[in-house]
């Protein structure tokens, strides 16, 4: 996928950028919901930008891998980051709040969407958030939360635990956060 350095939107006075601000696109989720979004916000997703540039959009851009609920969240993020005059500090605060309330399942949906749509900032933010949730958690907690089934025998597991005993120091007792 083409890697492009985007200038932050705002301050820009070139007519092309102005046009992008007023032009709207329609994004269609996997469950058929349609969302309008300004082109300047939509193209913060490198995948959408490429679709627009290749002109395969034809008015409505179908996003078959993203459901409506997740797409609505992603659009909130894009709109904030394309907002005129939003300072970096404001955006940082927004990012923090944006991911802090999300449940694990939602975080996974958003990380998948951000990966698919190639939205770097959002991807970084959600990955960090998922890692934060996993910090100091027991293996059992991680298995339960992520629906991972262990295929080790109890003996194998015991053996591995012994081998890396130091990695188990200071692990939280299982409490749901």
């Amino acid at each position: 996928m083409a890697r492009k350095n985007r200038n932050p939107v705002g301050k820009n006075v070139d007519p092309e950028a102005q046009k992008k601000k007023t032009r709207t696109l329609t994004l269609k989720s996997s469950d058929g919901q349609e969302f309008s979004i300004s082109e300047s916000a939509a193209v913060l997703s490198i995948a959408i930008e490429n679709m627009v540039e290749d002109d395969c959009a034809g008015g409505v851009i179908p996003l078959p891998l993203v459901d409506g609920g997740t797409l609505a969240r992603v659009i909130t993020y894009l709109n904030k980051h394309a907002e005129d005059g939003a300072s970096d500090e404001e955006k940082r605060k927004f990012d923090e709040e944006f991911v802090s309330g999300m449940e694990m399942g939602v975080l996974f949906d958003v990380v998948l969407a951000a990966n698919y749509l190639d939205i770097r900032g959002l991807l970084r933010e959600v990955r960090r958030r998922i890692a934060d949730r996993m910090k100091n958690k027991s293996v059992e907690w991680v298995r339960k939360t992520f629906h991972i089934e262990s295929d080790f025998t109890p003996e194998e597991e015991e053996q591995m635990k012994k081998e890396f005993a130091w990695a188990w120091e200071g692990v939280d007792s299982d409490v749901d956060d």
Binding site: F108, N115, A131, D132, N136, K137, I148, E149, W166, W168
Partner: protein, 421 residues
């Protein structure tokens, strides 16, 4: 919800989540399931800091933990940090550095005050380094050291290194943008010559014989808190060919932010100071004298020379020394009064902040001189010397300054007592 949601994520996403996990949390994922067993072994960052190692050291052998992780690790390690270690760990660094040929960011902090364990020569083979941060140790680059071609940031704290070695080290790292050195070891009281065409930030704190920039036309921010810089016995008359301040500042034309301690100001002034530099420092915005004796003509004239040569100066911060010598005081005050006749172009200066002020005649004359020149001044803030200036004296100072001639009519003047915030 689908089963095993995390394993269904693309590999790249999982790798990146693991990258944000503390090392030991990542190691624990090996016991989640067979699929997860070796996912952690490719994480590119290995951070052994006190958060992960701190409460283990009484129970486990740190060396064997690090050995084991490095042995299992596959692929490139781009960041390696060791910040919990004492000097006993040092001999093992040799083995570990062998694994770090792809390392870009290396941090080694040893907690061993007073001693300088020799850092392995293998360090000099890590040619991918972009960041190097060392605390405590001795560095001796081998003659065949070719340099770190990609090194951008260098932090050395309590690292013993001969001045000549340091000079050639810097010279061999052409991409250096950021250099911070704090207290070289006992070896290093020497002459520093810095040749770094891309350098933007330079900070030095410690003993030094002399310092000179050879090729630093991009240097924007510099702070020098030096001790023991070489001084002649008495200050000779100004001779342009010898002037240290001229020689020094002509090499750093892009300087934007400059912090000098007293020893360094004296060093700049040591061969006499011109009224003004032949070429203005057109980028200078912030100037700070971290302790200056405003009753010594050499120091005051050096400060004034820098101020006069910085037409775009916006902020000036000064820590005054206070009274040392009553005789100098009169001479300096007289000198400063005479300076009022020559114009100082200070059309951008908005803020003056002076600490440790005791209201000496020379200090007052210095401030009056600035008030007379600074047409855009918004705020003059003076913090009086702790325990030394009464409320009444502060009031008198205020009256005297508030009624003296000012170029900026809307400048706010504040004089307050020292307080711990």
């Amino acid at each position: 919800m689908a089963t095993d949601i995390i394993s269904s994520l693309p590999c790249e996403v999982i790798d990146n989540i693991l990258k944000y996990l503390p090392l030991f949390d990542a190691v624990r994922t090996s016991t989640l399931s067979r699929e997860w067993r070796y996912k952690w072994v490719t994480i590119p960052h290995l951070i052994f800091d006190s958060t992960c190692m701190g409460n283990l050291l009484w129970k486990y052998n740190a060396v064997s933990i690090i050995d084991k992780i490095l042995l299992l690790h596959k692929g490139s390690i781009t960041k390696f940090t060791l910040t919990f270690a004492d000097s006993k760990i040092c001999p093992h660094i040799d083995n570990w550095l062998c694994f770090l040929s792809k390392c870009e960011e290396l941090t080694l902090c040893f907690d061993c005050s007073g001693s300088y364990p020799m850092i392995s020569q293998l360090l000099f083979t890590l040619d991918q380094l972009t960041h190097l941060y060392l605390v405590h140790g001795e560095l001796m680059p081998p003659p065949i050291f070719k340099g770190f071609e990609r090194l951008v940031r260098l932090n050395l704290v309590n690292v013993s290194m001969a001045a000549g070695d340091f000079k050639s080290f810097i010279c061999k790292c052409p991409m250096l943008e950021y250099v911070m050195v704090e207290s070289f070891g006992p070896k290093a009281i020497g002459d520093l010559e810095i040749d770094a065409p891309n350098l933007k930030f330079f900070s030095y704190r410690g003993k030094l014989n002399s310092i000179y920039f050879k090729n630093a036309s991009r240097l924007a921010e510099m702070s020098i808190i030096a001790h023991k810089l070489k001084m002649p016995q008495d200050f000779p008359l100004f001779e342009e060919s010898h002037s240290n301040v001229l020689k020094f500042l002509s090499q750093i034309p892009s300087i934007t932010k400059l912090t000098c301690n007293r020893n360094f100001t004296q060093y700049l002034a040591r061969d006499g100071v011109p009224h003004k530099l032949p070429n203005n420092l057109n980028h200078m915005r912030f100037l700070s004298f971290w302790v200056i004796d405003l009753s010594t003509i050499a120091e005051v004239s050096c400060a004034l020379c820098l101020i006069r040569s910085s037409p775009k100066l916006q902020s000036l911060v000064i820590t005054a020394l206070g009274l040392r010598d009553r005789e100098n005081l009169k001479t300096a005050a007289q000198f400063l009064k005479e300076q009022q006749a020559c114009e100082i172009p200070l059309t951008r200066l908005e803020s003056i902040y002076i600490r440790n002020f005791s209201g000496l005649e020379s200090e007052m004359e210095f401030v009056k001189l600035l008030l007379l020149a600074a047409t855009a001044l918004k705020k003059l803030e003076i913090i009086s010397k702790h325990n030394n200036v009464s409320r009444k004296a502060r009031h008198e100072m205020f009256e005297e300054l508030a009624t003296s001639r000012r170029a900026s009519t809307h400048a706010e003047i504040i004089i307050r007592d020292f307080e711990i915030i």
